[in-house]
Symmetry: D2
């Protein structure tokens, strides 16, 4: 579909069959040559060879290559100082350009030039996924990753992305990836996938980037229901009766999955739910409520830090979960729970907490089966977002607030006991 | 066509009808706010307001706005120095990120954030077109333009572009733009356009960017002929008989037009001819010769600098033209003629020079009617390009070289006389 | 667009390049052979040759060919009688099939087999257009035309047609045909066309058949207005200010054109206006009124038959026009005016008559400049249609009815005078 | 994909939501009314109701409905005679039209009018599939089926069909149907399907009709191989190594499946293989051989009729199989084996017979595991087809002819024994 149009006739037909890698230079030399060349055509050939070599490397060779980028293609502090002085002495376009170039490590230009090769964007995303395996332990590679992130933020900015429905009429090779990338409630077969896409009361939407047209970047799965559901197993049951989309009053965002490890920390998902909600509201005027049914992935580990196990009693569980969502913060002041952070940052409200809502092994393990509905009230998301972003205020129903108060008391009692 | 797929369902239907510009802050404040916000949604709204305000501004207001970007959103040299020292003292991701941010003027992030607004890319290109009116006279604005150019080089890199045929089955609103943007041999009506697109022996190809899907960036018009033509008026004659594409042995690139003033000096046209030639060669195996029929825009003015007028004698004209193309250089050593620079940089050869080849007013004025064929020999373009790029060697036929030698003699005689 | 998908890869690329017409038989023999063969491939080749020969014929040769079809490929009455008796004696599938085949002239099967050739449908439509030049004068050819009409009714039935918008993003070769086929208010240039397609308050829709994907069959042009217009020149004025589609309360169908002479009397336009109106009503909820601004093509000639000239006085003109539309009938009882017949048959109401509404030469000539609005009230079209179809009842406003009564009186006075 | 374009905007969005079946008349009355009405809109409503009612009927009610069509909507022999006389007395268009109408049962017009309803074509195909359950036992229903077949032959003629590749980028709902309709070598899972579509050395093509855009009509699966394969299990093995398409020298058509029971005996598959072969030959110039690997479904039952069991000895099996293919005929003289009939009728040659080629239960049961390659030599198919169609000549290699002679001897010996 999209891919047919986005890749040109030429590339589709594989017409630029390059003579392949007939270059005897080492990859480090090729990288230098790529940054040095001013020819688009020779640059494309170099880029293609480099990407091909990288793909074929063993993990330790890749690490060596990253080390080279991080060290040998870094910027030169002395050069920066000199260029800065020259600029200050005589600020004009030329001195500014020289300074800018000096302050930017050569590897940035290197990555940009690799990206000129057709289909390179996806390969660069994969390259960063590989790099991210080393960034925790190696500060120089972490700095290198900053360059990737900086460039990807520019290339994957929201204005370049395309939001498209994914359904049972979508190409199989895209659906393949939905199965592979589903991160919340695993899709275990094509029949399972069909149950999430084909019924009249199911929807799915994904963001795509034109240069990686076959790869969803992030997708959300939606169930259209009557009323707000309190169990994901009921929602996904094989035996459930589907309803007509027109009969539904509620849209439930029950799964949101990032697809590309190499796009970690590139933000583009924030507007996804709001866009999908706005569109569904237009198509299905009976929809009044837009809500998630979300996991609480950090509940157990947080409780354990408080010296508590996951309680068996549903009411106790709900109270502690509400308290965790409302009060557990990182040192930076943002909510500790990553899912809460995402939805609250989008302007959602903590609407309801359910016990016994996710009885899968994963659900029991991470939160004792508790789940939460985040509510997207389209008339309030901007205001909620603003208050959360500027003042750290979390929007929640009074029920949640009083549950949370109860949870605080329980913890205090325990601590006092 | 493309646009249908590239803009999402949502945006097409105009669903995100923003409340409009209800913000009482000045544009400079909005710009600060945009760079400061971390919310995607509030950022989109701010960006939309800023782009709307800019579009409505008078030219002098736009200049004032550019001044603000250039001066108030510049980088801070002291900040750079401090961040550099911190980085050197303790090089890690955080210190590197701080340094990188410090070395980059805030206006870069400002432009990147504007680009998150749907449809913004085209508006930013138009913004730069406006900016370019001032860059010759105002060094600060020239520096600002460097930031635009830097970002556009990244966004419009070859890997993101899509090459597509333009023909009589293309949408009228795209064809409108072909008429408007044709820069070499003006298209004076829809009938004229039809003569360039519909016949079996005519082709046209353009590069598009997915975020500006209705706007060609650069396009090339091709005539399929028997033999190499020596007159553009014959080539475009209303009365000419078209031939079957399969009968042609030669593809003539007779017009290449950049479409976007705001993309000046963003290089993406270099591979256009090679790609089109490669594709045509696959579809039409009888094609053996790929050649331009190009103007020599700088001939008259260069001759005048040599104290010569355009000669009437065709042979004299050809000799001087060959000499000009071979020998007239800028101080940087590259050919003085911009069209020669483009094609020789792409790896083409100076193949033949014709007198009486462009009898339009423009053609007579700039080169006394002389034109030149640059030959794209697909087996030699890489090698030609390399020798030109690295050693400044111009590839030319022996006929051209001996013509050029004759031209040199003529000039010397004249000078000696 | 459509064409890309509808013709297969194979046919698009012209891969079935037939060896051409290497057959020495006469076309009449080829026609016999085509009906006789049972091979799909040999049939396609024969069909292709026949269609090619026909296209190249002079008009008189075409007539001779039609004569052959009409006479030599007719059915055999004796064969029918025998087959009928056999069927009556022993009614089963075989005897029925023999009878059916006997009762159908061979030329029907001949036409069906021609239609198996890719792209043949359009050629057959053109063939019938040629045939229709002779059907008035030659009863045998009129009978032959019955066979074409019978088959075309089946092939062009409403269920096979596709309704699509035509706009400024449509392919130029389709727009070419809109210009050529506009039958009511001529489009005199691409700029005129643009004025009818590009503004926010203009729409156009056409029916297409998948086997003739580049050829509109019928199209309607729509103006979105505030209030019901009374002048087509105002509606199409170059200087008019367009309005936002959302501001309009009225959709005016101001031109409906059949495109294919060879599809005369194949009915598929009846649902066009109702469909377009239904769709516009969904997209633009502010639209409340769906109305035509239609010519009255038969007014002058009818008045002349009544011994009256077109009056100068606007009120007299309106009264006579209303009377003509309401009362002038063919011997079969249907309205004499073809445009009235079409819209009343669709279930529209005669809403208003205007003098001075079409000041073009054609408008003055046929109706003294008078025009009429037919109103499509979507809640009443079915009922109106039924009453018109079964009882000949014409729906009209009381104003029209009293105007018509006045017109009757005027005619009577005149006759009495 | 196709469906998006083929169904109009209006119908896609389900805009014509009919008031439903609010008609109190019986279906037989509705059928009369549909044939009687001349209004397109009222006809569409009637048709929709009738189709809806039919779909909801129990099998015996459907049979009753067919009886009604067959008997009450038959033609009237007396009417035919009278109309015939009137035509002979005065042959013109009117008398011809009256005769034609009289000789055609009303049910034909009934079916045509049902087909005007959007999406009706598929429902009519399903209706015929239901009808075919009764045609063997009920001659009147067999006659009724003739009318369906007559109309379907016209609607599904080759010129209206679209050949399209089916691959791993095809929509899942189309692939669903490939799984369901595969009739030769069952596809038992999505993974099995993927193995037939995704590898570089596999292809699949299907014919579609624009009015049933989501339904393949017939499809062929192709394996690209080096050399002619002799075992379908090897061809479809999970463990096999795929090769590059460019390396293959042979295209093997290993499965052809008709998809629509309701299109039985509507011939459109004949050109499928030739078209696919022609196209593959263009795309992959290394392909030299186009061949099937086909079952021999009638071998066992024919041998049994000859008093022979399937032999164990491979050579004996091959000889008997060759003899069966060459010599076993129906009373009409055409080959008894349906697969042989299809390919020989298309102009193929019997190329090679293999023992142990299909070791599935089905393959062992019907032919003792024997299979046959039919060769499509594109330079000879027309000639082969012609000789087969006109003279019943079967094209075979000399190896097959001598095998067949051996088979004859074996049978004679046996008989003589």
């Amino acid at each position: 579909m999209l891919a047919d149009l986005l890749t040109t006739v030429f590339e589709r037909r594989g017409r630029f069959t390059w003579s392949g890698d007939d270059d005897s230079r080492k990859i480090a030399e090729l990288a230098e040559a790529l940054v040095g060349t001013d020819g688009e055509m020779s640059g494309q050939k170099l880029g293609r060879i480099i990407l091909g070599r990288f793909e074929a490397m063993e993990p330790d060779e890749k690490k060596t290559f990253f080390d080279h980028l991080a060290r040998a293609m870094d910027f030169d502090p002395e050069g920066v100082r000199k260029a800065l002085e020259a600029y200050e002495a005589n600020p004009n376009r030329t001195t500014y350009a020289v300074f800018s170039a000096a302050a930017e490590p050569k590897r940035q230009e290197f990555i940009r030039r690799l990206n000129r090769v057709p289909q390179a964007t996806g390969q660069l995303v994969a390259m960063r996924a590989e790099l991210l395996k080393h960034t925790r332990t190696d500060p120089a590679l972490a700095a290198l990753d900053y360059d990737f992130q900086h460039l990807f933020s520019s290339w994957f900015n929201r204005g370049f992305l395309v939001l498209r429905p994914v359904n049972w009429e979508s190409p199989a090779h895209i659906l393949d990836k939905i199965i592979a990338y589903e991160a919340v409630h695993a899709i275990d077969s094509w029949d399972d996938l069909r149950r999430r896409l084909q019924p009249s009361d199911r929807r799915c939407f994904a963001f795509f980037h034109p240069a990686m047209a076959d790869e969803p970047l992030i997708f959300v799965e939606v169930a259209l229901t009557r009323g707000i559901p309190s169990s994901v197993q009921d929602l996904l049951s094989e035996d459930r009766q589907s309803i007509d989309a027109e009969e539904a009053d509620t849209a439930v965002f029950y799964s949101i999955s990032n697809c590309q490890a190499g796009l970690a920390n590139i933000s583009f998902g924030n507007s996804l739910i709001k866009q999908v909600a706005t569109d569904l509201a237009m198509d299905l005027p009976n929809l009044k409520t837009f809500v998630t049914l979300s996991p609480i992935p950090g509940l157990r580990s947080w409780l354990e830090e408080q010296g508590r196990a996951l309680p068996d009693d549903p009411e106790t569980l709900r109270a502690l979960a509400a308290h965790y969502l409302m009060e557990a913060k990182r040192t930076t002041g943002v909510p500790r729970d990553p899912v809460a952070r995402f939805h609250l940052g989008n302007g959602a409200q903590i609407h309801k907490v359910h016990a016994g809502a996710d009885l899968s092994d994963k659900g029991r393990d991470q939160s004792g089966g508790a789940m939460v509905n985040y509510l997207y009230d389209l008339t309030k998301v901007s205001q909620n977002h603003e208050r959360f972003a500027t003042k750290g205020k979390i929007s929640a129903t009074s029920e949640i607030r009083s549950l949370s108060a109860g949870g605080r008391k329980l913890l205090a009692e325990k601590a006092g006991a």
